[in-house]
Symmetry: C5
Subunit: 354 residues, 5 copies
Amino acid sequence: MLKLIKKRQEKVGLSPGTLVHIGEKKTDRTGITIVDYDEAQFQEQEVNTVEECFPFKDTPTVTWINIDGLHDVDIIERLGIYFNIHPLILEDIVNTGQHPKMEDFEDYIFVVIKMLSIDKEGNEINAEQISVLLGSNFVISFQERPGDVFDSIRERIRKGKGRIRKMGADYLAYALLDSVVDHYFTILERVSDRMESLEEDLVTNPVPATLQSIHRLKREMIFFRRSVCPLREVISVLERGESGLIKQSTGIFLRDVYDHTIQVMDTIETFRDMVSGMLDVYLSSISNKMNEVMKVLTIIATIFIPLTFMAGVYGMNFKHMPELELHWAYPAALIAMATVGVVMVIYFKRKKWL
Amino acid sequence: MLKLIKKRQEKVGLSPGTLVHIGEKKTDRTGITIVDYDEAQFQEQEVNTVEECFPFKDTPTVTWINIDGLHDVDIIERLGIYFNIHPLILEDIVNTGQHPKMEDFEDYIFVVIKMLSIDKEGNEINAEQISVLLGSNFVISFQERPGDVFDSIRERIRKGKGRIRKMGADYLAYALLDSVVDHYFTILERVSDRMESLEEDLVTNPVPATLQSIHRLKREMIFFRRSVCPLREVISVLERGESGLIKQSTGIFLRDVYDHTIQVMDTIETFRDMVSGMLDVYLSSISNKMNEVMKVLTIIATIFIPLTFMAGVYGMNFKHMPELELHWAYPAALIAMATVGVVMVIYFKRKKWL
Amino acid sequence: MLKLIKKRQEKVGLSPGTLVHIGEKKTDRTGITIVDYDEAQFQEQEVNTVEECFPFKDTPTVTWINIDGLHDVDIIERLGIYFNIHPLILEDIVNTGQHPKMEDFEDYIFVVIKMLSIDKEGNEINAEQISVLLGSNFVISFQERPGDVFDSIRERIRKGKGRIRKMGADYLAYALLDSVVDHYFTILERVSDRMESLEEDLVTNPVPATLQSIHRLKREMIFFRRSVCPLREVISVLERGESGLIKQSTGIFLRDVYDHTIQVMDTIETFRDMVSGMLDVYLSSISNKMNEVMKVLTIIATIFIPLTFMAGVYGMNFKHMPELELHWAYPAALIAMATVGVVMVIYFKRKKWL
Amino acid sequence: MLKLIKKRQEKVGLSPGTLVHIGEKKTDRTGITIVDYDEAQFQEQEVNTVEECFPFKDTPTVTWINIDGLHDVDIIERLGIYFNIHPLILEDIVNTGQHPKMEDFEDYIFVVIKMLSIDKEGNEINAEQISVLLGSNFVISFQERPGDVFDSIRERIRKGKGRIRKMGADYLAYALLDSVVDHYFTILERVSDRMESLEEDLVTNPVPATLQSIHRLKREMIFFRRSVCPLREVISVLERGESGLIKQSTGIFLRDVYDHTIQVMDTIETFRDMVSGMLDVYLSSISNKMNEVMKVLTIIATIFIPLTFMAGVYGMNFKHMPELELHWAYPAALIAMATVGVVMVIYFKRKKWL
Amino acid sequence: MLKLIKKRQEKVGLSPGTLVHIGEKKTDRTGITIVDYDEAQFQEQEVNTVEECFPFKDTPTVTWINIDGLHDVDIIERLGIYFNIHPLILEDIVNTGQHPKMEDFEDYIFVVIKMLSIDKEGNEINAEQISVLLGSNFVISFQERPGDVFDSIRERIRKGKGRIRKMGADYLAYALLDSVVDHYFTILERVSDRMESLEEDLVTNPVPATLQSIHRLKREMIFFRRSVCPLREVISVLERGESGLIKQSTGIFLRDVYDHTIQVMDTIETFRDMVSGMLDVYLSSISNKMNEVMKVLTIIATIFIPLTFMAGVYGMNFKHMPELELHWAYPAALIAMATVGVVMVIYFKRKKWL
């Protein structure tokens, strides 16, 4: 069963804003990397203590702080205090049971988004929570474990490819969202492949395991939809550009991500429709197969039952059964039986029952 | 059957605003506790008559009056008159068949919310009505019976933990709502556990009792949804902060509760989808099992019917049946029968019917 | 079949505003009662001609004219002309096929509402149309037949109980609506009782009649919903208080009725969900029962078919069947048969088919 | 199959505004009638050429031009040019595959509406497109064939009955719409009658033809809904009275039509719900009936199979079967068989399988 | 399986605005044609390099540049730079996995629309992406492959038919959209034909292949809906005329396309409803047919089983079976058997089981 709810029992009764890590611990140590750039310069470093990030807060360059691992709430709390983040936001960051959402404070925007990944066999979809804090000249991103989904962005910054170095922190935040949404398409492709192979199974050899696969698919679509659906609203609000933190030039790009999100949602809906269709096909083909078996078997039984009756008649022990004495009676009886059998088969064929 | 409607026959025809307790009487005596605090001081006391609460009305400190037990409408009426509460509100407080709702009078805000609890075996969800009246410097909460859900809040006030002592009555009201909503997660976890064990039953040994459990689950989800759904609107209205009674700083916290409510609703919807899926799996696995039985049995019958016919033929009493005389005829007949049987079994195996 | 449409054939082709009574004639004579009151005085009288009502039109007191019976369109027309009611409204009053609706003219507000009643056995829900005209100081109510639903209001006016005598015509109109909506709860309770007993039947002894009951329930819920659903909008518009005829103090009470309507609708929806669930349970329990029968029977047949074959073999008339000569052959054959039977039974038990 | 789409292949690739008649040709010649009236005077005439209508355009009286038959696009084009109608509107008039819609040009309002009729047996619903052009003092109506639905309006104008002669062109247009919508009720009544008789069939004798009828009904409801649904929006827009062509006094009447449309829609929805219910009842009663047959038959077979086995045992040819020699053995065997049979019947009865 | 998702793996990780052709390469070379006209003059030419289009940008005449083939991203990039198109728009043009959408920049409007085609056998619906860029005096259209859907427009321009030469670039863009939407009707007609033939198959001879066809139809409707649905919003936005690029006179025509889109959507919905209905009919007719077979067969078996039992009784070898000695016993037994058989057949007929 896909985990639809994170255990948070230890949370109940605590004061709001108390930081408690909810979710699986997916990495051992908290990794902190800093990327600092503007159009002209660039530096990247891995640091050990969160305090090393602080000097970057007030530089005019764009600073991207990335935190891998959320279990060490202390680090996050210190960061939060220095960057003046509301305790409830910090609480959301370490509680991995959040749905995608956006909060617009005046000084910063907070976005929660779900990074999805699929295992090698393409059988299970996992979700990782990614939180992004966008300030006027910094972006802080929080991941549950070190991942490679942001690598291409880091690469683009390093090499100064595209327009990323020329634009501000808002564009960087957009790039992070965009890379997560783009990744959804990869997963949809994997799912699509699986659906195709399931479809083939459905036609050639529907077995109970096919049903299991269909149901797993169905449930994954529920899970997928749940992780992506609120994102539409999130990006839509960002795009409408009511926050001063997001420049109009970035708005166009956000509209693009918005379109992608719509496409992802739409594809999920279509997949859901198709999975329902597959379920119908499976059930009717199984019952078809069963009916075929039952029909043929019943027909065989039905042909032999009258014949057995005829044999039974001539097996009776009446004294006076004149036909028993006749020389040709036995072959005649056999022929009669064969005739009855053939007539019934023909009749069944005519009726298209056979 | 979960009670979906409370008997209110005695109510029909009475003037609106007449106080009649509708619902089960869940406690013997009405308990009244008062907690009075500000950042500097704190006092807590249990009182016997409602009049003892009155002096606290006009103190500048935050006063929290908690009433356990709604059957003594007289107490509630006296309280209502003193605190100048509209008769319709008092009527709603003692009628436990309310849905979650909010009424904004200028002097106070009235909120009805459903406290859910689940019994030890995790089999039945019960609802208790909690009404909260928020005035400028007091909060009055009404519960159907003494409960422990507000204990942690009382504890936080006592110890001065968190920000609760520093903030006003609106924050206290928020804390009450928050603790109720937080409790929903606990119940969802319990339900989730039950679903997991049901899922296992479904795969390993689906019996009619499984169906009963699925249907009970389905109904509980209907019940749960019904208790929580209107809450979304309630908190949304509170959060938008149109009332002067709720400060902006508390608005942020209410938004947090709002997000939690959305998550609860969303999880319920997902559970409903999953329960539907489980029903489908159950039905198709039961019919699968049945089909399997029928198929094997029909096959056995089908194999023996032609054999019985053959035996019947040689049981006929014709005078002239030359093969009966032959010495090897009997073993030959047995071999022929065995052959027919084996051929049919092979045929069935080929066709994958066996 | 619940009548979902009223015959109105005679109506087609007539000029709009022509008064034609559509619906069953439920009372013989049109009864007219007048209640006239203010805080100080009160009078009540039954009159014979509609003209006797006219003097009350311009008194400063609140006048409530109640008409029982709609078939005498002439009376209603005369009343309408005197009170200056739009012909289309009069047409709506006598056409009992209306849905709940509200029309706001400047001088008066017109409200159509459905009064539901349930017969003694609790088996059939009937609807009666009630029209209410609210003017600045008068209320005219039209009922299809004399009923007792407004008796408690009359009583409250007579005795000066509650606030009704102190408030205006708008409060009276509210009281009428409130009593109708309150009555819905009574019906829901009756339906709820029936559902409980149906549920029990479902578990203990599901028979085709149960299915019939479920379907009747389903249809009644459709009927109920249809009668109540538009009411929500009607009361919502009234409550928003855009008409000068409704004072703000009455608005609070209308909000209360609105909440009740929402609760009724919500309960109906829940009942519908539950009825669907009951249908599923019924169908699966019936098919379960059927499967049980078929399974046991097939098993019995299957056990005896091989045994019959064995008996058939030893009934063959071959000359040379050495075992027939053996002294212990017959008991041995019987034992063999018994063994085969027992083995099959054990096998079936093992497989949990028996 | 109800035609859901009109062939329009010849249309593809033509310039927009090119007049091509799409739909069946339902009348041989185009009939043109003119009715011209005000409160004082009235004239009615049938004309042969469209040019004869032109003088009426600028008279102060209300002029109603009615065109029966849309295949002669030339007539409609000439009319359109003289009355200054947009080519796209003319295109819509002759294309009978339109959905109900409204276009508000400043000089005139264009309304498309579907006139439904049902054949004598009440089995098939047909739609005819009616277009209405409302100018400041003229109404032009287009019908696919001469019909009698507008006769009663013509009669009312002739006799000066009702308020029609006193009011303007907008009221005439309203009267046309009203008569079409009123006619829907007639059809709903016919459908309702058919549903009642179907219901009876369902209970007394469900046969495959019943299923066909249910499905035809379902499809007709789809067709009906499709023809009426957009009308709601059309009339709503008209009623809101944003066009100067519609006076406020007529607005009240349009609101009445609007209410009727809502009622029609609502009834259709209810019918759809009921048809679904009937389908469920049909399917479960058919499967019930089938199960009954199978059960009884299987039971008969099951009773005789053990008996046949017993007979088979005593038909064996063993030399040493002592009981065969006993004098009372045969009657004893018969009695044993009878006993087994009776015991099984009793057992089945007990289990309520018989 | 209809491709619901286009492979875009190579896209992941690239900077937004990087042009990568996503989709099948449907033509070998990129064809560029230019049509330039105003009311007085007209020229048309096929060019080899995109640079030949550039001079037309600033002419006062309307210029229509049509590009067939999207795989050569270089051509599109050069065109985009010269015409000052946003990189994200260019990216959308070459990514054929877009949904219909509209982007309104100040200088130009960008519209993506899906051109659908159906193969000869009418079995498969294919989608081609068409992008249209509308500037103040130019239109650039992009197709995946050379097609003939725009030929009729080209013809109308050449011959100066209709109003196209008199109007601006916005009307040309409208004409392109209109021709695509018009084409949808052609496809709907094809689908409608297929549905009719399927309906016939359903009644006369439902086979598993019918089920396959129904499911294919269902899926195509999903696909169709998905391609058309967002178009409604797109055209609605265009029509509201908020962009200065679209003149009011063209707005009327766009409203016409909007109506057509609504009709297409509505027809698709109706088809979906009908396909669901067909599925129900298929399933119930198949199960009906199966039940018929099983019933008749079971009846045959049931008639002969008691007869076989009777024969078995007289085949028993008891010494003392007096009736065996009787002269008329054998014919009597035969008559008895025949009687039992006939009685059972009559009984079954009475019960309407046969």
